[in-house]
Amino acid sequence: MAKIKVAKSAPRTDMTPMVDMFMLLLTFFMLTATFRPQEPTQVDTPGSISEKITPERNVITVYVGKDNKVFFNLDNGEDSTLHIRQEVLKNVGAAYNLSFTPEQLSKFERMSAFGMPIEKMGAWIDAPNESERQLLQTGIPVDTTDAATSELANWILYARKANPRAEATIRGDNTADYKAVKQVLDIFQGAKINQFNLVTNLEKVEVKLD
């Protein structure tokens, strides 16, 4: 009598839960990936072996672009109820006899880096779209022409007053002139800041002493 053969079928695990998990994890990581903040100008930072991570809170950032234009950014620190950005804008505006409406102040709070003479700030905040906004960004003046201190110096001074724990961070482009960066460093030193973080890309270097 022939043996009854049971149809052999390869055991099939139902993959549904695993793919569900994958999808959830993927969505999680995609959403928690922090997007790079919109930078006012394209900056290619130089490389270095330094492994210290860029601080995200309590920073005063100065960008020096390819064309040596200077842009500025400051964050709201750890306590957003202090409205540090608004404070600083109000004070810097007052130093140049300019005032801003409450709507402009609250709009400014949510924006990021900027770079233009203080007179154009109002127009920049109220600009209807991104391209017009970009046109106004001609760089913050760093020269001391008629005033005792340059505009950048004033921004840094008031930013420091509003948030004494802020660290100075400089994002310089590779091809920016060292002279322009040195000017920024001198302005910082004028504000009694002697410790700087220069943003770089990580480079691994093998050193062998022969």
């Binding site: 149809a7 099939r12 139902d14 993959m15 549904t16 695993m18 793919v19 994958f22 999808m23 994890l25 993927l26 990581f29 995609m30 928690t32 990936a33 922090t34 930072t45 130089p46 490389g47 270095s48 072996i49 330094s50 492994e51 210290k52 991570i53 860029t54 601080p55 020096v64 961070t169 310089g172 482009d173 590779n174 091809t175 920016a176 002139d177 060292y178 002279k179 322009a180 960066v181 460093l185 001198d186 030193q189 004028g190 002697n194 410790q195 700087f196 973080n197 220069l198 943003v199 770089t200 890309n201 990580l202 480079e203 270097v205 050193v207 002493l209």
Partner: protein, 224 residues
């Protein structure tokens, strides 16, 4: 994503020949593969994409009202590195003082590992070795110490070093930011204990110009 397994086992039925039902199961393996890859990618890039910072500390700018005594740098330890435009880099040992001959020779180097790094490593051999030994010991477990102690030991090695070079970094007008960051990076790579960013004096400017002329002449093979 259920697998619809059509009626496969109906082969034994005798009688009317049925049109063979194709199984509508879509093989999900490639999709799961791609998901796995995407997931790994995002997991890794969110961790590594943070830009890094290089910390530098500059000394307080000298107060023009207070006359600070000039610090005398021992001639034997001084190394002057001059950065020039077009990624050129020069260096000379000792101090360039027209009142104190001999005038040092200016050499040209480059930013590669056989250039300025080789020169600095040679000069800084003992300090570099001791720092590397300490780091290796901690890595391999020969010496165990908390991170703070390690950092303090490294700082002390630098502080009490009296053999390594004292580097004076100077830059001409047209130097790019990248050059400065690169040279400060070399200071960190070679574990240089003391360096500073200073301005060139007029004598050095002339010395550099002469050196460039000499090097150009030597390259074209013309008599000076």
């Amino acid at each position: 994503m259920a697998e619809i397994i059509a009626n496969e086992g109906g082969g034994k039925k005798k009688g009317k020949k049925r049109a063979k039902k194709f199984s509508t199961a879509i093989d999900m393996t490639p999709m799961v593969d791609v998901m796995c890859l995407l997931l790994t990618f995002f997991m890794l890039t969110t961790a590594f994409s943070k830009p890094k910072v290089m910390e530098i500390v500059l000394p307080d700018p000298p107060d023009p009202n207070i006359k600070t005594p000039r610090v005398e740098i021992p001639k034997a330890r001084a190394v002057n590195i001059i950065l020039d435009e077009n990624d050129r880099i020069f260096f000379y040992n000792g101090l360039a003082d027209p009142t104190k001959p001999p005038i040092p020779t200016v050499f040209e180097s480059d930013y590669s590992k056989d250039g300025i790094r080789k020169m600095l490593l040679e000069r800084n051999r003992s300090l570099f070795k001791s720092i590397e030994e300490l780091n290796n010991d901690v890595l391999t477990g020969k010496q165990v110490m908390p991170r703070d102690t390690l950092e303090k030991r490294l700082r002390d090695l630098r502080k009490y070093d009296d053999l390594g070079p004292i580097v004076l970094i100077k830059a001409t007008e047209k130097v790019k930011y990248k050059n400065i960051v690169d040279i400060i990076d070399e200071m960190a790579i070679c574990n240089i204990a003391r360096y500073s960013l200073t301005d060139m004096n007029s004598f050095e400017v002339k010395l550099l110009a002469k050196a460039k002329r000499d090097i150009a002449a030597a390259q074209t093979g013309q008599p000076q």
